[in-house]
C-alpha cells in the first residue's frame, strides 16, 4: 500500500514538469501559436504541482519510513533490464523538495526576466525537462537510473548554456562543458560495467549493502571523476568559471545551484557502496581539499560577479565532498543545502552588485575594499586554476578533433550535393 502511494506520488513528481514540457513543445511542433503568457502559466502550474507533490512525498517518507517505488521496467528481459525503481526516503524526498523549491523560485524569476526574449519557449521547455532529470537523480533507486538522468541533465545544461548561440565563444564554452561532463561520466559508466560484470545490481538509498572490498574501492574511485566533472572540481574546473554564459536564471539554477550540487549528492547516495574502502574515502577527501584550495584561489582573482560566485560555490562543494569522505554526513548535508541556497540567491541578484556595494558603504561608513596586490605569477597561476593545464590541453584537442570532423563532413556534403550547380544563382 505504501509502495503504491509512493509510486503514484513519484510518478506525479516526475510527470509534472514533463507534461508541461510536452504542453510547450507540441504546439511549437504543430505550428500552433503559443503566447508567452501561456508558457508562463504552464510553467507556474507545473512547478506548483511539482512542489506540492514533493512535499507530500516528504511527509510520507517521514511518517511511513523508507520505501521503494516501482514504476515498471524501462527495457530488458529477465537477464538484463533497467528497472524504473525509485528509492523514497527522507534524504531523497528532501532532495526532491529542494529541487522543486529552487525550480519554482527560479522559473518565477525567469518569467519576468525573459519577457520579450525570442528564446523564451526554449528556455522554459529545457528547464522543465532538466527538473525531471534532477528528480530522477534524486530519487533513483539504482546507479543505472541515476546515470540516465545524469546524462540527460548534461544535455539540458549544454542547451541552456548555449542559449545565445549566435556567439561563437558561447558555443565553444558550452561544448567544453559537455565534453568535461562526458569525460567525467566515463567513471560512472566504468563503475556500472564493473558492477554488472560482477553480477551485482546495487540499490541506492539507506537499505544498500556494502560491496566486496576491491569493488568498493574501485567504485568509489571511479565515481570521483563523475562528481568532479559535474561539479566543476579539479581537474575539470576550467568550464566552471566560464559557465555564466546563459541568462542569469539558468546560471543560477544550474551552475550555482542544482546541477553542480549533483556531484556531492551522487557521492552521498552511493556512500554505502564504498564506505568500507579507506582508499576511496581518502580519494574523496583529497579531491575535495585540492579542489577547495584551487577554486578558492581562483575565486579570489575573479573580477566578474557571477564568475566569482560560481567558483566560490565550487570551492565549497569541494569542502562538502571532503566532509563526506570524512564521514561527517550531517554537516555535509547542511553545508550542501546552504551553499546551494546561497549561491542561487547570489547569482540571481548579481546584477545588483553596484547598489549592494553602495548600500554596504552607507551602512558601515567605510569605503569598499580594494583588491589586495599580490605577486603576478601566483595570481596568474590561480586565475587559470592550479591543475588545469593538462585537462585544458585534452579538451582543446577533443575540440579540435570535433572541428576537423565538422569541416570534413561539410566538405563531403558540398561534394555530394553541389556537384551539379556550383554557380551562385
Amino acid at each position: 500500500m505504501i509502495e503504491r502511494i509512493d509510486a503514484g506520488l513519484v510518478a506525479v513528481v516526475l510527470a509534472a514538469p514533463l507534461v508541461a514540457v510536452h504542453a510547450l513543445v507540441l504546439p511549437f511542433l504543430l505550428e500552433l501559436p503559443l503566447s508567452e503568457r501561456a508558457v508562463g502559466r504552464a510553467a507556474r502550474v507545473a512547478t506548483s504541482v511539482h512542489l506540492l507533490t514533493a512535499l507530500v512525498l516528504l511527509a510520507s517518507a517521514a511518517a511511513l519510513g523508507p520505501a521503494t517505488a516501482d514504476l515498471g521496467r524501462w527495457y530488458g528481459d529477465a537477464e538484463v533490464a533497467l528497472e524504473l525503481s525509485f528509492a523514497v526516503d527522507l534524504a531523497s524526498a528532501g532532495a526532491v523538495v529542494v529541487v522543486a523549491l529552487v525550480g519554482l523560485v527560479v522559473l518565477r524569476f525567469a518569467e519576468r526576466y525573459l519577457h520579450g526574449d525570442p528564446g523564451h519557449l526554449r528556455f522554459f521547455a529545457t528547464s522543465l525537462l532538466a527538473l525531471t532529470c534532477l528528480d530522477t537523480i534524486a530519487l533513483a533507486g539504482s546507479l543505472d537510473l541515476l546515470f540516465a538522468g545524469w546524462e540527460l541533465l548534461g544535455l539540458c545544461s549544454f542547451v541552456l548554456m548555449a542559449y545565445f548561440h549566435e556567439r561563437q565563444a558561447t558555443v565553444d564554452r558550452a561544448l567544453r562543458t559537455i565534453l568535461s561532463y562526458r569525460a567525467g561520466d566515463l567513471g560512472l559508466l566504468l563503475a556500472l560495467v564493473l558492477l554488472h560484470a560482477a553480477g551485482l545490481h546495487p540499490t541506492l538509498g539507506p537499505g544498500g549493502e556494502a560491496l566486496p572490498a576491491g569493488l568498493a574501492a574501485a567504485t568509489g574511485l571511479l565515481l570521483l571523476p563523475t562528481a568532479a566533472g559535474k561539479s566543476g572540481l579539479v581537474p575539470f574546473s576550467a568550464w566552471l568559471a566560464r559557465s555564466a554564459e546563459g541568462p542569469t536564471p539558468s546560471t543560477a539554477m544550474f551552475y550555482a545551484g542544482l546541477s553542480v550540487h549533483a556531484g556531492p549528492w551522487l557521492l552521498l547516495r552511493a556512500w554505502p557502496l564504498y564506505a568500507d574502502a579507506p582508499i576511496a574515502r581518502a580519494g574523496l577527501v583529497a579531491l575535495g581539499l585540492l579542489s577547495a584550495a584551487s577554486l578558492s584561489a581562483h575565486a579570489a582573482t575573479r573580477s566578474d560577479v557571477k564568475g566569482a560566485v560560481v567558483v566560490a560555490g565550487g570551492a565549497q562543494i569541494g569542502l562538502v565532498i571532503a566532509e563526506i569522505g570524512l564521514g561527517w554526513h550531517t554537516l555535509a548535508t547542511v553545508h550542501l543545502l546552504g551553499n546551494l541556497a546561497l549561491r542561487v540567491a547570489q547569482v540571481l541578484r548579481a546584477p545588483d552588485v553596484l547598489r549592494q556595494v553602495a548600500r554596504r558603504e552607507a551602512l558601515t561608513g567605510r569605503p569598499r575594499a580594494l583588491p589586495r596586490p599580490v605577486p603576478a605569477l601566483p595570481w596568474l597561476w590561480s586565475s587559470e586554476g592550479w591543475f588545469e593545464a593538462g585537462p585544458r590541453l585534452v579538451v582543446g584537442l577533443l575540440l579540435r578533433i570535433a572541428g576537423a570532423l565538422d569541416a570534413g563532413s561539410r566538405m563531403v556534403e558540398s561534394w555530394a550535393v553541389g556537384g551539379r550547380d556550383r554557380e551562385d544563382r
Binding site: 566569482a308 540567491a345 603576478a376
Partner: protein, 942 residues
C-alpha cells in the same frame, strides 16, 4: 621624436573611435560619436559606417514600413530627394531612364532581396513569386508583354536565358527546379496563358540577360577572425580586467599592464610566435609587431586591433584619462603582438586579419537579380533589354551601387525627420489657452526630464488652473558636490560638463541606528567573505536559506516584501537624523561649504527670473527633483537625473527650497527687484519616476497632497501603457507599473528616456494644452523678462548639450544595439564594478541595453525656442558648442515668436512649413486609453 613614436601617435588617433563611457556607477548619456561632432551629421554617420562597420540609422525595411503607415509623408520624401539628389557626371544611360528617374524609382520602391531558392520554392508550391508580386502592376504588365514577345520570337533563346545554360539536360532540370515547368513547350504555353507566371518568366528572362552582360566579380573569401580574436582574449582580457578592477576581486596582480600581459603571454601557447615581436617597452613592441606592414597599413592596423574589442580598449583609454594608472599604448602593443602571434600560429596572414572587415560582396546571381528588378521597375521589358548596349548594363549596376540601401535609408530617414518636425512644430505653434488670472494655490518646479512631462500634465489636469508647473534643469542651478550623512565620498550633483562651485553636506545630528554597522558587516561578510573558503563555509551554513528566502519573497510578492522591508529598515536600521547644511559654514577645503546669502540670492533670483516666477508665486512652491529606484539593475544611474550627473535629484531641490526660504535671501531678492509674496513657502521634494511616489521635505496641506497623489496615479497609468507585458486594451496595470522598481526579476523597471524627441524652451502656457506623449523635455523660460538674452543663453548652454547627449545616445544604441549598445540584459555580468560583460567572455558592453531602447524611435532632437529670433541667433553666437551641434545638423533648431514659426537651415532662420493642426481630445486619459503604441501630439480641450 624617435622613429618609434608613430605608434603612440597612431594609438592616440585611433582612440577617437573608441567608446568614451566611464564606470557604470555614474552613467552619463553622451553622444556615442562625440568625436565627430565637428562634421555634418550625415557625413559623420557615413564615416562611422565605413570605419566601424556598424548600422548608423534604422534599416530600409523599417523605414519603408513607416512610409507605408503614413509616418513619412510622400511630399517630404519627394522634397528631400529633390534637395539632395545630384546627378552624376556620367551621361545618362542609353535605353534606360535617366539617372534621376532611376534613383527616384529605386527610392520609392526599394529592392526585394529574396533568395532565389525561396522564390523557386514558392513557385514550386504554386504560390506567387514574392519579388514579382511586389512590383507595381504596370511594371508587371511590361514584363508580361515582353516575355510573351521573346518567347514567341525565339523560344530556344528564351529557354537559354531562363536557365543560363545551353545544354538540354541541364535546361530541363533547371526549368523544373526553379520555374516548375517540365519543358520548353510547357513554358511557352504557360507564358501565353497565365499572366502571373508570364510576369515571373519575364523577370527570369531579365535576370538571365543581366547575368550574361554583367562583368564577373571574384568574391573575396570571408576571413574568419574569431579564432584569432578569441585566442588573444583568453590571454589578455583576464589581465586587463584585473588591472581595471575597482573593488570586485579580492586580489590583484602587482605590476604594470605591459609586464603583466607579457607574463600571461609567456604561459600561453602563443609565446613561441610572440617572443620575437616583443620589445623592452610598448612602443618598441608596436614597431616590431608591425614590422612587415607598410606605413599606411600600420596606422590602420593599430586602429583595427583596438576595434577588435572596442569596449575594453575604450575602458582602458577612459581609465588612462581619469586616473593615469594604465596606458592605452600598452594595451595596443600587447594586443598587436598577440594577434600577429596568433595569426602565425593559425597560419593566417596578419595583414588580412588586421584589415578592415568587409562584408562579402553579392554573387553574380544576386547582382543579376537586382539589375533585373531595376529594369522591371522602370518598364524595360525583356524584349527591350535584348537591345540594350553593353554600357547600359554596367550603368544599371552603377545606379544600384550609387543608390544603394544606405542611400535610400538616408533619404527615408531625413524625410521621416522632416515629417516629424512638421507635425511637432505645427502642434507647438497652436495658439495657447487663455491665461488664467488670479493666484494659483501651488507652483511646482520640476526637472526638464521627458518623464516629468506626463507628471506635470497629470497634475495640471487634476488641479486645473489652481496649479502651475515649471520645468528647470534638475540641479536647480546649484553646481554642488554633495555628501550625504551616510555617504563615504562626495559626488557631483550637476551636469558633468560643468564644474562644482560649492560643497553641500548633510550633517548627522545624532547617532545612526546601532544595528547599521552590524548589518553592513554581516552583508560584507556574506557577499565578500563568502568568496573565500572559510567565509564561504560559514556563510553557506548560516546565511544560505535566509538569503534565498528573502529573494524568493521579493520574486513572488515584490510589493508586499518591499513595503515590509522598508518598514523594518526604518525601524531597525534608521539612518542618523541629519540636517542639510545649505547656508555658508566655512571656506576651508578646495570649495566653500554652503552658500552665503549673496550667492544664494544670485542663484535663486537667476532661476526664478528665467522661468518667470515672481510676485505672483503661489503660497506653496514645490521644488521637485527626481530619482528612480530599481533593483537588480546595473544601469540604475542611467535612470537617475541626468542634470544631476546621473545621481538622484532630491538634494539640490531641498537645498534650493531652503535657500529660497531664507529671509536674508528674500531681502536681497526684493532689493534686486524680485518681490516674492511674504506667505510663499518653498518646499523641497523628490519624485520617484519608477514608483511614482512623491516625497516632500515638509508636509503639504491636505488638498495639495491629494492632488499630488492623484497626479502620481495618472502618471503611473500613462507609463503603464508602453510596457509590452500589459494586456491589450482595457485598463492598464498601473500598480504593476509602480511595482516594477521593487521586483528584482524586472529588466524593464521603467522606460527612461526611450520616447525623447523634442526640447521646448518657453513658457508653460505654450505647451500646457498639449498631450506630448512624454516625448518633450520642457524648460520654462519667460521671454518678456529677458531682453538681453542672457537667461536664454544660460538655459541653452546648460541644457542643449545634455538633451542632445541623451538623444544621440538613444539613437546609436537603438540603431545598432549590438555595436553601440549593450545588447540584451539577460547575460549581463558586472565586471570589476565598472563595466558589463556578456556572459564571461567577449567585449565590455557600453551604451544602453536592448530593454531600454526597444521602443525608441530614433529622430534627431528638435529644439524649439519660444523667443524672438534675433535673441536666439545672439545666444547661438555666444555658445560655440551648441552652434556646432546646430550647424552640423546633430540637432534641429526652431524658433516661435510673434512673427510665426521659423526653422534654422543653412545658417539662418527660414519660415517653417506647417501642416494639419493636431487632433483634439478631451483629456490625456481619453487619448491614451487602450493604446500601447507611440501616440501623436494632441490638443487637450476639456
Amino acid at each position: 621624436m624617435s622613429n618609434d613614436a608613430w605608434g603612440a601617435e597612431a594609438v592616440r588617433r585611433a582612440a577617437r573611435w573608441l567608446p568614451h563611457q566611464g564606470p557604470l556607477e555614474v552613467f552619463v548619456h553622451h553622444n556615442t560619436l562625440s568625436e565627430l561632432e565637428n562634421r555634418p551629421f550625415s557625413e559623420a554617420l557615413e564615416e562611422a559606417r565605413a570605419v566601424l562597420g556598424a548600422r548608423v540609422r534604422l534599416s530600409e525595411p523599417e523605414l519603408r514600413r513607416m512610409l507605408a503607415d503614413g509616418h513619412i509623408a510622400a511630399r517630404d520624401l519627394d522634397d528631400v530627394f529633390d534637395e539632395t539628389f545630384r546627378a552624376p557626371e556620367e551621361p545618362d544611360p542609353v535605353g534606360l531612364p535617366a539617372w534621376r528617374p532611376l534613383a527616384r524609382g529605386l527610392l520609392w520602391h526599394g529592392l526585394d532581396d529574396v533568395h532565389w531558392r525561396v522564390r523557386a520554392f514558392r513557385v514550386a508550391e504554386g504560390q506567387p513569386d514574392p519579388v514579382v508580386a511586389g512590383l507595381p502592376p504596370d511594371a508587371r504588365a511590361v514584363l508580361v508583354e515582353g516575355a510573351r514577345r521573346v518567347f514567341a520570337a525565339d523560344l530556344p533563346l528564351a529557354i537559354e536565358l531562363l536557365t543560363g545554360t545551353a545544354e538540354p539536360e541541364r535546361q530541363r532540370s533547371r526549368l523544373r527546379e526553379q520555374h516548375a515547368l517540365s519543358d520548353a513547350t510547357e513554358a511557352l504555353a504557360t507564358c501565353a496563358s497565365d499572366e502571373r507566371r508570364a510576369a515571373e518568366l519575364g523577370l527570369g528572362l531579365l535576370t538571365g540577360l543581366a547575368r550574361r552582360h554583367l562583368p564577373p566579380r571574384v568574391p573575396r573569401p570571408p576571413i574568419d577572425r574569431t579564432s584569432v580574436v578569441d585566442a588573444v582574449d583568453e590571454v589578455l582580457l583576464p589581465v586587463v580586467a584585473a588591472v581595471l578592477d575597482l573593488g570586485q576581486a579580492r586580489v590583484r596582480p602587482r605590476g604594470e599592464l605591459f609586464d603583466l600581459g607579457l607574463a600571461a603571454a609567456r604561459r600561453s601557447s602563443l609565446w613561441r610566435s610572440m617572443a620575437p615581436l616583443v620589445g623592452p617597452d610598448a612602443e618598441r613592441t608596436v614597431v616590431l609587431a608591425l614590422d612587415a606592414a607598410t606605413p599606411e597599413d600600420r596606422e590602420d592596423a593599430v586602429l583595427r586591433v583596438l576595434l577588435q574589442r572596442p569596449g575594453w580598449a575604450g575602458a582602458v583609454a577612459r581609465r588612462e584619462h581619469d586616473r593615469h594608472d594604465v596606458s592605452l599604448l600598452d594595451y595596443a602593443a600587447l594586443r598587436l603582438a598577440l594577434t600577429v602571434a596568433a595569426c602565425r600560429t593559425e597560419e593566417l596572414d596578419p595583414a588580412s586579419v588586421l584589415a578592415r572587415p568587409e562584408a562579402p560582396g553579392p554573387g553574380r546571381g544576386t547582382r543579376a537579380g537586382r539589375v533585373a528588378q531595376l529594369l522591371a521597375l522602370h518598364h524595360v521589358g525583356p524584349d527591350a533589354a535584348l537591345r540594350l548596349p553593353e554600357a547600359s548594363w554596367a550603368a544599371a549596376e552603377q545606379a544600384l551601387e550609387r543608390y544603394d540601401t544606405h542611400w535610400r535609408a538616408r533619404i527615408l530617414q531625413e524625410a521621416r525627420e522632416r515629417t516629424h518636425r512638421r507635425t511637432w512644430l505645427t502642434a507647438l505653434s497652436t495658439a495657447p489657452a487663455a491665461k488664467v488670472e488670479g493666484r494659483p494655490r501651488l507652483d511646482a518646479l520640476c526637472c526638464i526630464d521627458d518623464r516629468e512631462e506626463s507628471f506635470r500634465r497629470a497634475l495640471e489636469e487634476v488641479a486645473g488652473p489652481a496649479v502651475r508647473t515649471f520645468g528647470v534643469a534638475g540641479h536647480f542651478g546649484l553646481n554642488v558636490r554633495f555628501r550625504g550623512a551616510t555617504d563615504v565620498r562626495p559626488a557631483a550633483r550637476h551636469p558633468v560638463a560643468l564644474r562644482s562651485t560649492h560643497r553641500l553636506e548633510e550633517r548627522a545630528l545624532g547617532a545612526p541606528g546601532r544595528l547599521r554597522p552590524l548589518a553592513g558587516g554581516l552583508s560584507t561578510g556574506v557577499e565578500r567573505g563568502g568568496i573565500g573558503p572559510i567565509g564561504g563555509w560559514v556563510a553557506s551554513l548560516v546565511a544560505g536559506w535566509p538569503a534565498l528566502g528573502a529573494l524568493a519573497a521579493r520574486v513572488v510578492a515584490p510589493g508586499w516584501t518591499d513595503a515590509a522591508s522598508r518598514r523594518w529598515s526604518a525601524r531597525l536600521l534608521p539612518p542618523p537624523p541629519s540636517e542639510l547644511v545649505v547656508m555658508r559654514v566655512d571656506d576651508r577645503g578646495d570649495l566653500p561649504l554652503g552658500f552665503d546669502a549673496d550667492e544664494a540670492a544670485e542663484r535663486v533670483g537667476g532661476l526664478l527670473h528665467t522661468i518667470g516666477l515672481g510676485a505672483d508665486a503661489a503660497p506653496v512652491v514645490l521644488v521637485l527633483g527626481h530619482r528612480s529606484t530599481s533593483r537588480n539593475n546595473p544601469f540604475a544611474s542611467a535612470y537617475e537625473c541626468g542634470a544631476c550627473g546621473g545621481t538622484p535629484g532630491g538634494e539640490n531641490a531641498r537645498a534650493f527650497a531652503r535657500m529660497a526660504n531664507d529671509p536674508e535671501v528674500r531681502a536681497r531678492l526684493a532689493a534686486s527687484g524680485l518681490e516674492l509674496p511674504a506667505d510663499t513657502v518653498f518646499v523641497g521634494g523628490v519624485h520617484d519616476t519608477a514608483t511614482d511616489e512623491v516625497f516632500t521635505d515638509a508636509p503639504l496641506p491636505d488638498e495639495l497632497g491629494a492632488w499630488l497623489a492623484r497626479a502620481a496615479d495618472r502618471d503611473a497609468d500613462e507609463r503603464a501603457r508602453r510596457f509590452l507585458s500589459e494586456p491589450e486594451g482595457g485598463a492598464f496595470d498601473a500598480s504593476g507599473a509602480r511595482g516594477r522598481g521593487a521586483d528584482p526579476s524586472e529588466v524593464r523597471p521603467e522606460y527612461c528616456h526611450a520616447t525623447n524627441a523634442v526640447f521646448v524652451v518657453g513658457p508653460r502656457t505654450a505647451t500646457r494644452h498639449l498631450f506630448l506623449d512624454r516625448r518633450a523635455l520642457l524648460h520654462s523660460y519667460a521671454p518678456e523678462g529677458d531682453p538681453d538674452g542672457s537667461a536664454l543663453q544660460r538655459v541653452l548652454g546648460a541644457a542643449v548639450p545634455v538633451c542632445a547627449g541623451i538623444n544621440l545616445e538613444y539613437w546609436f544604441s537603438r540603431v545598432d544595439n549590438g555595436r553601440f549598445g549593450a545588447g540584451t540584459k539577460l547575460p549581463h555580468n558586472v565586471i570589476g564594478l565598472h563595466g558589463l560583460l556578456e556572459g564571461t567572455s567577449g567585449d565590455l558592453r557600453t551604451g544602453l541595453p536592448l530593454q531600454t531602447v526597444e521602443i525608441h524611435e530614433p529622430v534627431r532632437l528638435l529644439v524649439v525656442v519660444h523667443a524672438p529670433r534675433d535673441r536666439v541667433i545672439g545666444a547661438l553666437a555666444a555658445l560655440p558648442d551648441v552652434e556646432r551641434l546646430v550647424r552640423n545638423a546633430w540637432v534641429f533648431l526652431a524658433a516661435i515668436d510673434a512673427d510665426g514659426t521659423w526653422e534654422w537651415r543653412d545658417g539662418t532662420f527660414h519660415p517653417a512649413t506647417l501642416g494639419e493642426p493636431p487632433p483634439t481630445t478631451r483629456s490625456s486619459t481619453t487619448w491614451f486609453r487602450g493604446r500601447h503604441d507611440a501616440l501623436g501630439v494632441a490638443r487637450i480641450a476639456p
